[in-house]
Subunit: 202 residues, 2 copies
């Protein structure tokens, strides 16, 4: 026996399709929405309904945006000679939060993963090359590769580095090492090895 | 700096108002919805938008329902002489799942909690009394109190028991004891004390 309300049942079923949301959480969320004023639920419904209509992919950097080109690509104060290549739109946000980077971005839309059928053609690599070719006067002098520190990220970094070296002056990658605030004792071997390898003069 | 898409930002903000959903989960859900086909997001949006329009409270038992009275109250096969009183609509579902109860329900909408300003008038207690008075021929012979096993539930049980004793033949409460599948060793003192108190002849 399910809920005595098919409308509630439908919502629970829909919510439980979302990642990290099981049937119990979906139930809790649906009952919460039911207890809230109808306007609250309407505002959430509208935000979801408008998502696909309003959110687009920037035709330059492939980041998500409401306007095309995106605010970062349009921002005249940003350094157009450096492009940071990331896997997902989320990564742009993460790097922006540091306030350390004032260049542009390029979002690949994933990382190379032959096992999952993701090859170079599935990523926005050609778009990156086109972009480097057409930048013209305002030439890109450095590409920073900021992939996730896992096997797929590593493969993508090496693939892109080989591809970009003949075209761009400087191809760099973000440092891998001991995270700030952690303890040397708890660092795994691979991280510590990278930290030693990447040591800098004090 | 937030997302370069205000539409996405709005959705994340709305999602993070839901219980158990923090900013990080909200981000993840929003990006997931963006990656899904637009129709999937539309179906979820519609389910939320229609919730308050379609879901009502049953005028008899105060359970949630699309039609009034609810399917349980309308079901002629159910035993109309027993009413099980519960705190929330969720509890009806939980009890229905056992397939052990074939009577009717009454949903209070919470439990007595003076600290949170919930007194008898905030709960559907008067509606329960009215219901007992108007049932007529088909008299209610037993009321089962199935409150949550906590302080508020206990207070509500005792309050209702005193109120109902003069009106209904039998006022019972669900048994408190050792849960099936658990280990006697892990039972807390209060539960074990109730289990001893409520012992039955084998």
């Amino acid at each position: 026996m399910l809920y005595t309300s098919p409308a509630l049942e439908t919502l629970i079923e829909r919510l439980s399709r979302l990642p990290t949301i099981g049937r119990k959480t979906a139930q809790r969320l649906a009952l919460y929405l039911l207890k809230q004023p109808a306007e609250e639920a309407q505002l959430l419904a509208r935000a979801i309904a408008e998502l696909h209509e309003r959110v687009h992919t920037c035709s330059i950097c492939a980041n998500i945006t409401d306007d095309d080109p995106c605010p970062i690509c349009c921002d005249a104060r940003r350094d157009r000679s450096i492009i940071c290549v990331v896997e997902e739109p989320n990564d742009v946000l993460t790097i922006e939060r540091t306030n350390e980077f004032r260049g542009l971005y390029h979002v690949l839309g994933g990382s190379l993963s032959p096992l999952e059928g993701v090859g170079p053609d599935e990523l926005k690599i050609r778009e990156l090359l086109d972009r480097l070719r057409t930048e013209g006067d305002d030439a890109v002098r450095e590409i920073i590769l900021a992939m996730d520190p896992n096997v797929e990220g590593e493969a993508t970094t090496l693939y892109l580095a080989r591809l970009l070296h003949p075209i761009v002056e400087r191809v760099t990658r973000i440092a891998r090492g001991i995270p700030i605030g952690s303890d040397l004792e708890f660092a795994d071997q691979a991280t510590l090895a990278r930290a030693l390898e990447g040591r800098t003069v004090v």
